[in-house]
C-alpha cells in the first residue's frame, strides 16, 4: 500500500511538531485573526502575562496575552466578559498545543451571565434587600445551627470539623441540598423556608459550597434564593466559593463569609478562649472583693485604735503624768527658791558679821557689863565704886572692880 510507503520515514516529536507549526503559520487565516468570545478561567500571572480561555456555547480556545501586549489594555478582563481579541493562532511546541496569541483586545460587552448578575444586583439593591440595617445579628454563643449544602462536599466537612474544634458542644443540622444545576437555587430556597417553619429556634443557617466556575456557583446568583434569604427570620450566613467570588447571596445574607471554613471561623466562638476570659474576670472579681475587705478591715482597725486612744484609762494615765510633771516642777522650783534664799541669808550673815560688836572688839574696842545683871554700861551713873564689872575684849573677859568714876 502506498500510504505505508510514505510513512516509512520515522519522525521525532520535534520534527512533526515543527511541521504542524509550519502548517499553522502558512495559513493566512490564522494570522491577524479577530475572535469574539467569552473570557473564562482568566488568570493574571505575577509575571504580567494573562492566561485565559475564550469560549462560546460549544467550543473553547486557549489564549495568552503577554505582558508587552496587555500593558495598554483599557479594562480588566473577568470571567464571563465578552471580548474581541486580535492575534495569531500558533502552536506552542513545548506542549504540542495550539493557542491564540492575543496582541490586542477590546471589550465586546459583558457576557450574558455577567449582565444578568449586574442587572439582578442593581434591582435587588434598589429594593433595599442589601440594606445594612436589615441584617440580623448572630448570637455570640450559638447552640443550634443548620448548614444547607451538599452532604458530600469538602465544604460540609470543613464547616463541621472547624465548628466542633472551636466549640465542641454544639448541635449541627445538615440539610442536604443540591448546590449547582438548575434545581439548586430553588432547593436551597425551599430548605430555608422549611427550616424557618419547623426549626425557628435555629441560631443561624449557613448556606454555601466550595469553589467552582461562575456557572457552578450560579445558583447563588438566582433571584428566588436571594428573596428567600431576605425573608428568612433565621439569620443566614452565605459561604460560597473562594474569597474572590461574590454572589448575590453574599449581598443579601446577614453575614458574608469568604469560604465555607471561613463561615465556621467567623460564626463559632472559640470556647476555650471564652472560658479563659470568664476565668480572668472571675478571679478579678474575687481579687477586688478581697481588696475591699482589706480596706474595710483597715478602716475598722483605725477606728478601734482611735477609740482606744479616747479611753478614760488613757485620760487617767495622762493625768498621772501631769501630776508627776507638776510635782517634779514643784520640787525643782522649791529647790531653786531655797537656793536663792540661802544666798540671801549668806549675804546677810556676812553683813551681820561685819556689823557685829565682836568685829569692833577685834579692832581694840571693849564692852563693859555691870555684873551680875550683865547690863552694858553706857554712862557713869550706872556704876558705883567697888561694883563688879566685866570687860568683854576680843579674846575673852576681864573681871574688875570699879575703882573710881569721873563724869566728863
Amino acid at each position: 500500500m502506498s500510504s505505508n510507503q510514505v510513512n516509512k520515514k520515522i519522525y521525532t516529536v520535534s520534527n512533526i511538531t515543527r511541521h504542524i507549526q509550519l502548517l499553522f503559520s502558512s495559513d493566512p487565516l490564522l494570522r491577524n485573526v479577530t475572535i469574539v468570545g467569552e473570557v473564562s478561567n482568566f488568570k493574571y500571572h505575577s509575571s504580567g502575562h494573562m492566561y485565559f480561555v475564550l469560549k462560546d456555547d460549544q467550543c473553547q480556545i486557549r489564549c495568552v496575552m503577554f505582558r508587552g501586549s496587555n500593558l495598554g489594555l483599557g479594562f480588566d478582563p473577568v470571567d464571563g466578559m465578552e471580548v474581541k481579541a486580535m492575534g495569531d493562532v500558533r502552536v506552542y511546541e513545548k506542549r504540542g498545543e495550539y493557542q491564540f496569541y492575543v496582541s490586542r483586545m477590546t471589550e465586546a460587552g459583558r457576557g450574558a451571565l455577567f449582565a444578568a448578575f449586574e442587572a439582578l444586583k442593581e434591582k435587588l439593591k434598589a429594593e433595599g434587600l442589601f440594606k445594612q440595617e436589615m441584617k440580623k445579628a448572630l448570637p455570640r454563643i450559638p447552640h443550634k445551627i443548620a448548614v444547607i449544602t451538599s452532604p458530600t462536599g469538602a465544604a460540609i466537612r470543613d464547616i463541621i470539623s472547624i465548628t466542633l474544634r472551636r466549640f465542641p458542644n454544639i448541635h449541627i443540622i445538615v440539610v442536604p441540598s443540591q448546590v449547582q444545576g438548575n434545581e439548586a437555587a430553588l432547593q436551597i430556597a425551599q430548605n430555608i423556608e422549611f427550616l424557618n417553619l419547623v426549626l425557628p429556634d435555629l441560631d443561624f443557617i449557613i448556606i454555601g459550597r466550595g469553589g467552582g466556575s461562575i456557572e457552578e456557583l450560579w445558583a447563588f446568583n438566582e433571584e428566588e434564593l436571594a428573596r428567600s434569604i431576605y425573608l428568612s427570620k433565621i439569620p443566614i450566613v452565605s459561604a460560597v466559593g473562594h474569597e474572590t467570588d461574590f454572589t448575590i447571596a453574599d449581598f443579601v445574607a446577614d453575614l458574608r463569609a469568604p469560604t465555607p471554613s471561613g463561615a465556621a471561623e467567623m460564626t463559632i466562638p472559640e470556647k476555650e478562649s471564652l472560658i479563659i476570659q470568664l476565668d480572668l474576670l472571675k478571679s478579678k472579681l474575687n481579687r477586688m472583693m478581697n481588696h475591699i475587705f482589706e480596706l474595710k478591715r483597715q478602716s475598722c482597725f483605725n477606728i478601734v485604735e482611735n477609740l482606744k486612744y479616747q479611753s478614760p484609762k488613757n485620760k487617767i494615765l495622762q493625768h498621772f503624768q501631769t501630776l508627776d510633771d507638776l510635782s517634779n516642777r514643784l520640787n525643782l522650783n522649791m529647790k531653786h527658791i531655797l537656793h536663792i534664799n540661802e544666798n540671801i541669808l549668806k549675804k546677810y550673815r556676812e553683813k551681820i558679821i561685819t556689823l557685829s560688836p565682836r568685829a569692833v572688839l577685834k579692832r581694840g574696842y571693849s564692852i563693859c557689863f555691870k555684873m551680875p545683871e550683865k547690863v552694858i554700861v553706857k554712862n557713869t551713873g550706872q556704876v558705883e565704886k567697888d561694883n563688879l564689872i566685866e570687860v568683854l575684849v576680843n579674846n575673852g573677859t576681864i573681871s574688875a572692880n570699879v575703882s573710881g568714876k569721873e563724869e566728863k
Partner: protein, 89 residues
C-alpha cells in the same frame, strides 16, 4: 421546654458577660460600702455561673435532616466518613 428556652434567651451570654465586666469595674472604683460591694460580688458570681452555664448548655450533635412532606422531617446522625467529593474545591 420551649418556654424555658425562650426565657433563658433573655439573659444572653453577651449580657451576662457585660454585666460581669461592669460589676468588676464598679468594684474597682472602690467607692462602695461593704454591703453594696458584697451584693455586687454575689451578683457577679451569679453572672459568671450563668455565662459558664450558657457555654455548656448544648450537647454535641451532628444530624442530617430529611424532609418528609410539608411540615414533617426526620433526623439521623450525620457521618462524614466515606464522603466523595462531588464538587470542585
Amino acid at each position: 421546654m420551649t418556654a424555658k428556652k425562650k426565657k433563658d434567651e433573655d439573659i444572653s451570654f453577651e449580657n451576662s458577660l457585660k454585666k460581669l465586666e461592669e460589676i468588676v469595674e464598679e468594684l474597682e472604683k472602690g467607692e462602695l460600702s461593704l454591703d453594696e460591694a458584697l451584693k455586687l460580688y454575689e451578683e457577679g458570681m451569679q453572672f459568671s455561673d450563668k455565662c459558664l452555664e450558657k457555654l455548656n448548655e448544648s450537647k454535641q450533635k451532628v444530624e442530617k435532616l430529611t424532609k418528609e412532606g410539608n411540615k414533617k422531617y426526620h433526623t439521623e446522625p450525620f457521618s462524614m466518613q466515606n464522603n466523595e467529593m462531588d464538587e470542585k474545591e
